[in-house]
């Protein structure tokens, strides 16, 4: 079995199994700890709307904070947009998603995706440097924070190399790209990459809790 055969066959299968298994395990395990029913009289009754509202509103920080977190805000948006475009609108990626989901969507020209991938990589490296140097971030960071950045950074770099056919034979680079994605998938449920899943329930519960008290989350 070649490296690529392993990466696109059993490697991928196991990674996806562990990913799905771990994500559901962690999500359900946290939610199922449950909480007592709040018996106070709500100021506003539509808690579902408040919860959904918070999913949106927490993407836009309150005006009073904007000045102090401008850098993180801008890099955060740049990173996530560049990443989503690179992952979701690259033709070969869409073919992969189509094979899993059963449907596809239009892709962007490869050159545009290459630009977003390079932007994403540059922003992520910037964020990595900031984490290692900013007093608060450096102080609060643990291994998970660095591992999570690195396991996302490597698929980006190997993806760019595989696309550009630089640094090795195509199937080797493709295999490394797949393997690094698999490492990322396996790490995902155990580390803080899980935030991508937790965003929804976390923001939703904040929205309902604040909404109950008549406060905009």
């Amino acid at each position: 079995m070649t490296l690529l055969e392993f990466a696109s066959g059993p490697g991928l299968q196991w990674a996806l199994w562990i990913f799905v298994f771990g994500v559901v395990w962690r999500l359900i395990g946290a939610l199922f700890l449950l909480a007592r029913k709040d018996l106070s009289k709500p100021r506003r009754h539509n808690s579902v709307a408040a919860g959904l509202g918070a999913i949106w509103s927490r993407s836009t920080p309150a005006h009073a904070f904007e000045k102090r977190i401008l850098f993180q805000h801008v890099t955060g948006y740049a990173w996530h947009f560049a990443l989503f475009i690179s992952v979701l609108f690259f033709a070969p990626h869409i073919l992969f998603f189509e094979s899993v989901l059963g449907f596809g969507w239009p892709h962007l020209p490869n050159t545009i995706v290459m630009v977003t991938a390079i932007i994403a990589t540059a922003v992520l490296i910037t964020l990595l440097i900031r984490r290692a140097t900013h007093p608060v971030q450096r102080f609060i960071s643990n291994a998970d924070d660095y591992i999570s950045i690195v396991v996302v950074l490597i698929p980006l770099v190997t993806g760019i190399l595989a696309f550009a056919h630089v640094g090795g034979r195509y199937e080797t680079l493709l295999a490394l790209h797949l393997l690094s994605v698999e490492v990322m998938l396996i790490w995902f449920p155990f580390g803080k990459l899980m935030h991508a899943i937790m965003t929804m329930p976390a923001r939703y519960q904040a929205g309902t809790a604040f909404g109950r008290r008549g406060v905009k989350a």
Partner: protein, 353 residues
């Protein structure tokens, strides 16, 4: 051709001009990535070469490789090179048969011990050696004996090189490749289903010129021909870069000759010279005629999923397996939460007691 005639003399007697011969030599030299100064050396070596003895064994095969080589195109230098070797045994091509043929093979092996080239096409069944026999001799035994006295072995076609289609799942005959059986002898894998004819002659020319085997890649294939993938040399590559893909075999993109990646082309992971040498005297190759590469020169090409699955689709398993993983995760999640809550309740009860 007489046995003591040189290749040069023979070609001349067949009406091949000096100019035509040199053209072949320079083409061969460039294919094998030799410097231009080597052309004269190739020409000199080929012109004066004595006919080497070649024994050709056909095992579990479809004769496609032989057909490809013999019927490729009307008399050319390549086909004449074949005439110029002393093909002492070729099960499919030779007139003699039965014990007479086997006697010829044994005689050639005796006479040229340690010097002849053994060409093999087809895979070898080892599950039950009786699946394929010639004159009562199993393929396995014949290969082991012939290989032991050969100078080098050329495994022609994907079956001989990697097991090929007989080796494909579920492999009922237990088919294996030449290199799975033979050790201690140089083996040159000329894979492809079938391989490109000029690659065979190129390898023989190299042997005639230098008396050695050419540089091989990790799969034991001549690096000069298998060093680059189809995708890198494909004339449709610019469409890939621009993201212009044929979505079906009869859409606008297909008519415009756009990239066949989405239709399952295996060009990016297939190493062969199709995109440069092409087929039928340089006329075309599969991608040019509108079908994606199926990766036939790679090991296990038959077992890598559908030819029409894009490379990036991946063999991710089944949706049911993923649902199973999700269900297992949910069960563990619920279980761990219930256990944690039970501990919490116990602590509370202890508090109140």
């Amino acid at each position: 051709m007489r046995k003591d005639q040189t290749l040069g003399e023979y070609l001349q007697s067949q009406g091949v001009s000096r100019r035509g011969f040199l053209k072949f030599c320079s083409a061969t030299a460039s294919l094998m990535a030799l410097p231009p100064s080597a052309v004269a050396q190739v020409a000199e070596a080929l012109a004066t070469a004595r006919r080497p003895s070649v024994i050709w064994l056909s095992f579990q095969e479809c004769t496609g490789c032989t057909e490809s080589l013999t019927r490729s195109h009307a008399p050319t230098v390549e086909s004449l090179i074949f005439d110029a070797i002393s093909l002492d045994y070729h099960h499919t091509l030779q007139a003699a048969s039965g014990h007479g043929a086997e006697a010829a093979r044994e005689a050639a092996m005796e006479e040229n011990e340690g010097e002849y080239i053994l060409v093999v096409d087809g895979s070898i069944p080892v599950g039950n050696k009786a699946y394929s026999t010639i004159a009562g001799i199993s393929n396995y035994d014949m290969l082991v004996e012939a290989a032991s006295k050969a100078f080098a072995i050329v495994a022609v076609g994907t079956c001989a090189a990697f097991g090929g289609i007989p080796h494909a799942n579920p492999n009922p005959t237990g088919a294996v490749s030449v290199s799975d059986i033979v050790t201690g002898k140089p083996i040159i894998n000329v894979s492809g289903c079938p391989p490109i004819p000029v690659v065979i002659t190129g390898v023989l020319a190299h042997f005639l010129t230098f008396g050695t085997i050419p540089e091989l890649d990790a799969q034991g294939r001549p690096a000069a021909f298998f060093g680059q993938n189809i995708h890198d040399r494909c004339y449709r590559r610019p469409f890939y870069e621009r993201g212009q893909f044929a979505e079906t075999f009869d859409d606008e993109g297909a008519r415009k000759g756009w990239c066949l990646y989405k239709l399952g082309c295996k060009g990016p992971t297939t190493y062969n010279a199709c995109a440069t040498l092409k087929w039928n005297a340089g006329t075309s190759f599969p991608i040019q005629s509108g079908h994606g590469c199926i990766g036939c020169s790679e090991p296990n090409f038959w077992d890598k999923g559908s030819f029409y699955n894009p490379i990036s689709a991946g063999m991710w398993g089944s949706r049911d397996a993923l649902l199973g993983a999700a269900a297992a995760g949910a069960a563990l999640g619920v279980g761990s939460a219930i256990a944690a809550r039970a501990r919490k309740k116990k602590a509370q009860a202890a508090e109140e007691a």
